[in-house]
């Protein structure tokens, strides 16, 4: 494995063959900082005397324990190992006298120490978070209970007068000859239907497409109204919306019917006249 060889190369003192016992017992840990912190805190290894070889062995052992070598994961440890090697090198090699202006550069050991300590604070606080009483783990709230139809207040939309009027209308409608026989109902045109749809959307409210059908007894009326809605949407006079996945289709007005540019209807009107002839 490339990664293994690389780790070994960084620690030439380590035997190439895997030692019978891992030099440091490595618990499940989360990244090189976590392991380094473990070594420093539990093993009492002073950072200034960090035995690079031992640490690299520990890293290597951990990498071996992973189910398969993950190049990215190995990279995290390699980066840390190289930092440690740099540290070690600084400790061992005499410092070259600096020439000229002294560049203030942070001591890599101090930088590493600071990172370790900073990491430790977050690791500790995350342990505390993990011990808190989490919702749905230690403590539980009431489950969502859907509002039953009987519980929901009802908005009757109309008053008793309106209700009576609706009934009156029903009776009138029944008394009237069946609408299929009325020529006027069959005489839907695209232009007229577009105007109709627009005028119904003047209040700025959203209306379900299906509403437009309720009053249309004939298939033709419904089809033409549907096509007119598409046409109006194509010319951006209305929006077509579906608020809920697989929910009802709603039409939303974009312009007031009195102000709408209906020049596009001319073509339809022409067609309609042709057809009438």
């Amino acid at each position: 494995m490339i990664a293994e060889r690389a780790v070994q190369a960084l620690a030439p003192a380590a035997p190439v063959a895997r030692p019978p016992e891992p030099p440091v017992a490595v618990p499940a840990y989360d990244g090189p900082l976590d392991l380094l912190l473990f070594l420093v805190r539990k093993e009492g290894v002073a950072l200034r005397e960090i035995p690079v070889a031992r640490i690299c062995d520990a890293y290597l052992a951990h990498l071996r324990d992973l189910d398969e070598i993950d190049v990215d994961r190995a990279g995290d440890y390699l980066a840390m190992a190289s930092t440690l090697c740099l540290l070690k090198a600084r400790e061992l090699l005499p410092r070259l006298p600096t020439v000229g202006a002294v560049e203030e550069e942070e001591d890599p050991k101090e930088a590493l120490e600071r990172r370790l300590l900073e990491y430790e604070r977050f690791r500790d606080v995350s342990e505390q978070l993990g011990q808190m009483h989490l919702l749905d783990r230690e403590v539980f709230a009431r489950p969502e209970v859907p509002v039953s139809p009987g519980e929901q207040p009802i908005d009757p939309v109309v008053d008793s007068y309106g209700l009576a009027r609706i009934f009156y209308e029903l009776l009138e409608r029944r008394a009237a000859p069946p609408p299929e026989h009325r020529v006027a109902f069959e005489n839907y045109t695209m232009a007229e239907r577009v105007r109709f749809v627009l005028s119904r959307l003047d209040d700025g409210a959203e209306h379900l497409l299906s509403e437009f059908w309720v009053e249309l007894p004939s298939k033709r009326g419904r089809v033409v109204t549907f096509l007119a809605s598409l046409e109006a949407a194509r010319f951006q006079l209305i929006d077509i919306a579906q608020r809920i996945h697989l929910g009802a289709i709603a039409l939303v007005g974009r312009v007031h019917s009195a102000e709408a540019d209906l020049s596009m209807l001319a073509e339809h009107e022409h067609d309609d006249q042709e057809e009438a002839r």
């Binding site: 499940a28 989360d30 993950d70 190049v71 990215d72 994961r73 190995a74 990279g75 995290d76 011990q131 783990r137 230690e138 539980f140 709230a141 009431r142 489950p143 969502e144 209970v145 509002v147 139809p149 009987g150 519980e151 929901q152 207040p153 009802i154 908005d155 009757p156 939309v157 109309v158 008053d159 008793s160 007068y161 309106g162 209700l163 009576a164 009027r165 609706i166 009934f167 009156y168 209308e169 029903l170 009776l171 009138e172 409608r173 029944r174 119904r200 209040d203 209306h207 509403e211 437009f212 309720v214 009053e215």
Partner: protein, 225 residues
Amino acid sequence: MMHDEGENVIEFPGPVAGAPEPSGDDIGEPEGPCPPELLVLALEACLFASADPRTPVELAMALGVATIDVFDAVESLRERYLRSGSALRVVEVGDGYQIRTDARLARWVAAIRGGKPFRLSRPALETLSVIAFRQPVTKGAIDDIRGVDSGGIIRSLLERGLVKMSGRSEEPGKPMLYGTTPAFLEVFGLRSLVDLPTLRDLRPLHADDASLGAVPVVPFRAPGD
């Protein structure tokens, strides 16, 4: 290069202190029986955290105790609710137990839960108007006046409590008769059905109109206007 730990986030290896192991499906089994001194509390917690009624057997399994102990614990809980002045009640629903709020508090529960009021649709209003003015009335008669099948709407009105079954007709097949409920009167602000305006009340108002459909004074803006 850093590695991606995304897959690790969901599962924590090994047992979490205090949390039980995943139970597979439905009712899990805790490691040991619930100690007697915690039994009533654990039962309360289980019922509280369940939306649907729980059977004594389900509760006994979750608590790791005998079903008879569940009965005793339910009695203790029921008694505590009554004694300590609680808003909660233990009720038997079907073959299970459920915690519910005291019926006298329904108003406040409805207020916090109600959400947006349910708006009656035009077909619902039509159906309701026929039932209101023709009650007791069969589905057949309603369909006849409306010209469409009203089955789904009648069902929904029944669920909403605006309409009730009020007997059976003497017609062949003895079809169900429908009528309005007190909730109907409340929703429309009526003291009794007598207060409903009759068609006789309406006619003078629209006498000069050829057809009611042309009258623009309707208090609703439904598509059929």
